[in-house]
Subunit: 492 residues, 2 copies
């Protein structure tokens, strides 16, 4: 690729884990004393996100209230040569907001203002700390919604969603965060505030909004986003189909898609997950079923009944034990609650669990599930599957006990084998959880050195000094992320 | 923004208009003699695209047949210090593929192979020179389609669509090119071939596919794209509504959107355009109407009649003279042909015309149309309007005679005023036609210096030496694009 190297490429870890004296006071002068956390107790919360296999505690957490405070904090960090990691609600699943090589964590949880609601043009400007579900609630009365709905939508923030390009069950029909993002306010690592995207549907110049989305905090800090609203569908029907085997359920998924139907959501849970969910929420799933599908369709009321009939017929053609529609909104909500809290429910089965995230072409679902089963057997692990079947986005959940070192090693090995299998089947090593620290080694499975080099250069275009979330996505040469981070930096 | 400068920033025009001796022979050795055009007659075709206000003839046009030939041509150019401009079918509307500062034009029109059709996973890999409409034709039998449908879809190519992030009438419901793009094969300006995007729905690492889409050939040459296919809708209804005034028609647009309806397309033509279209194609439009709307809805057959009734009621509530549905596929096709060939039809009214492209929030449509009328009056110009009303994407067409120098100056002035008015109303200076050479000065209306600086750095990440389409999007410092290009470099 020629001799060009990004300015920071080849340097050792940017910044240092040791903060200069007076730095904490300087930050408190910007955000107030209550906006700086430094005690071991306060910091314990921030030592990992939803990916708990690796942990690293920041030296300081700062909680700015407004964009100008973020810019001043970042500028102070730049002057002191301190690198930083942005954080939203910490619900990420790949360790993207792990402190790692950065001593300073900048958390946007106090930036919770919806700055503007423009119903006529269907858009909202929300600060980074606004909780995902709060956006839809704010426009519900106008029968509008913000579509992306990660399972953590009652906790996760818009800033985190943009950083991770979050998906959710309704990705199948409606796309992920980037498909609903009209603009971004980004504080660059030198403290400049960029307004990217023009807030209208079409982009102008390079689509920097698009490339910021999913950049996992390595380009700077997203402080606000302009989000597109969509009308609530006139009618929604949610079907629950019960199958004797995972094979029948995946064949049904293929059958539905092949029939030219695009459901709003098409989710699968296997027996392990159904058991856990049933134990936790008692929805009424049959725990002897091999797999269940949740199939949601939406649109104009008049067309829905006919579509429902077609889907039911496809389910029966693939030996469904039963198919029925949620009777009312309450039952529909209960069904989705079971699905969306499946990860939490798994905690009842096992002290720890690791959620994998991979993608295969939809037609390869039966193969990847068979391979996962074989991997589980080989490593003597229990693996449950709950996932966005319609997009081929799998989420094997590996159950384990983190106190058992040998088990942890087997979990890590099984995880890598699953991702390699996704690639071998023509898929990808991450669907919606991002790279973070978890998938850095897997990037090499997907991309040639030249591809990665261009990515590094794009990163350097935003962050020439390499101070934003160092050691994520790509290892910092010479940085501690070239080895795996220590699994647990300090006992809390 | 600190001291970082892209490597080429501040340099004079990269490369030279004078080609080194032996260069033409070297290219012919790669692509064959018939793949290199150098005669004045052959080159005349390539001196502009659909934006005819500025022209510049390349020194050489090279027509590679495969990606490896593109890579070898680009490598030869790099070694000779020659800059290049990529070109598809030349249907662009902002001069993006004008030779300008680059002597070498690399045209992908011989790369017309559809490499793979994967019906089960609904994706196609098409080479850059494949004509847009050919993709949908190739998958029609499976009742699938490639959705983005620029008006030039029978001529424009996938490579050009990706470079310009092309839209079309169905953008309203289905999004633009970037929303249907799963991956891109890109030849970098140093000859490396990148495979971006993983061909599945979710992105991995930075969304470089997304930022390449719309980069107008300034990152290298797109040689192939993985495109998402969508099922053909079960049913389609196309309505034609006739109004006495543009104001009633725009109020109807707002009314439809406010009712929570997302039509597949929602297009407006004003009296000037209707007259031209009627003279050219004789569809049967009433030429005394103030404006017409084409409203297309699609989806499951069962729901469509009710939706049609609601839209008809909204039209009548805004004083529509008449509303009727196309009787059959043939009438529907004739209606769309009239709309899509409107630009061509205008040629009957006037020797030349300039198509503008701007965006306003939908609710500001009446205001922008009033302003356009005032601008037309002030500059003594006739301006017709045909546009994607549903997205607020306007296309004023300014009629003029290019032999009249004074008129040309007034066209340029009116064009700038219209775009400034779009910005003043909270919109953008380009909807779907790109920046090219036409809009370079307007970029400054939309972006602060810091924003532009980051864009320049991202460009440098792909093209450190500044050899891909120099002088487009951003003026090359010291390059001839800092002034406007000469309107017509040589009489053909």
């Amino acid at each position: 690729m020629g001799a060009f190297r990004a300015p920071w490429y080849g340097r050792r870890v940017p910044g240092s884990r040791v903060l200069p004296s007076g730095f904490r006071r300087a930050l408190a002068a910007i955000v107030g004393d209550e906006g700086v956390l430094a005690s071991a107790t306060d910091l314990a919360v921030y030592e990992c996100d939803g990916y708990t296999l690796e942990r690293a505690r920041p030296e300081l957490v700062v909680l700015p209230r407004r964009t100008d405070e973020v810019a001043r904090v970042v500028r102070a960090a730049a002057e002191a040569g301190v690198s930083f990691v942005p954080r939203g609600a910490g619900t990420g699943l790949s360790g993207g907001c792990l402190a790692g090589e950065a001593p300073l964590m900048i958390c946007v949880s106090r930036m919770r203002r919806i700055r503007a609601i423009d119903l006529a043009n269907r858009r909202v400007v929300a600060e980074a700390g606004v909780v995902n579900a709060a956006v839809s609630r704010a426009v519900q009365a106008a029968r509008l919604q913000y579509v992306p709905d990660p399972s953590s939508q009652n906790a996760c923030t818009i800033g985190g969603n943009v950083a991770e390009n979050s998906g959710g069950p309704h990705t199948l029909k409606y796309g992920v965060t980037t498909n609903h993002l009209l603009g971004v306010e980004l504080v660059l690592p030198d403290g400049e505030v960029l307004a990217l995207g023009d807030g209208v549907e079409e982009t102008l110049g390079y689509d920097l909004t698009g490339v910021v989305c999913g950049s996992e905090g390595t380009f700077g800090i997203v402080t606000a986003a302009t989000l597109r609203l969509e009308p609530l569908p006139e009618a929604v029907t949610t079907l629950l189909a019960i199958f004797e085997s995972v094979a029948d359920a995946t064949a049904t998924v293929s059958g539905v898609i092949a029939a030219g139907i695009v459901p709003a959501a098409l989710e699968m849970m296997d027996r392990t997950i159904v058991e856990a969910v049933e134990a936790a929420y008692g929805f009424g799933f049959p725990t002897d079923a091999g797999a269940v599908l949740i199939i949601e369709i939406d649109g104009p009321a008049a067309g829905l009944a006919a579509l429902e009939d077609r889907i039911i017929a496809i389910c029966h053609a693939h030996r469904a034990r039963s198919v029925r529609a949620a009777a009312d909104d309450a039952e529909r909500a209960a069904l989705w609650k079971s699905r969306k809290r499946a990860f939490g429910a798994v905690g009842r089965l096992s002290p720890s669990y690791a959620t994998q995230d991979g993608v295969v072409p939809r037609t390869r679902l039966p193969e990847i599930l068979a391979r996962i089963e074989a991997i589980a057997t080989r490593h003597r692990l229990r693996i449950g599957n709950v996932f966005h079947a319609g997009d081929g986005n799998i989420h094997p959940i590996i159950l384990y006990d983190e106190r058992d070192h040998d088990q942890v090693e087997r979990v890590l090995a099984a995880g890598r084998e699953i991702l390699a299998a996704c690639v071998a089947l023509g898929g990808s090593v991450t669907g919606e959880h991002g790279i973070g620290v978890e998938k850095m080694q897997e990037l090499g499975l997907m991309f040639a050195a030249d591809d990665l080099e261009v990515m590094r250069r794009v990163r350097a275009a935003f962050d020439p000094a390499g101070r934003a979330n160092p050691g994520k996505i790509f290892p910092t040469p010479g940085g501690c992320s070239e080895q795996r981070l220590p699994r647990r930096q300090a006992a809390s």
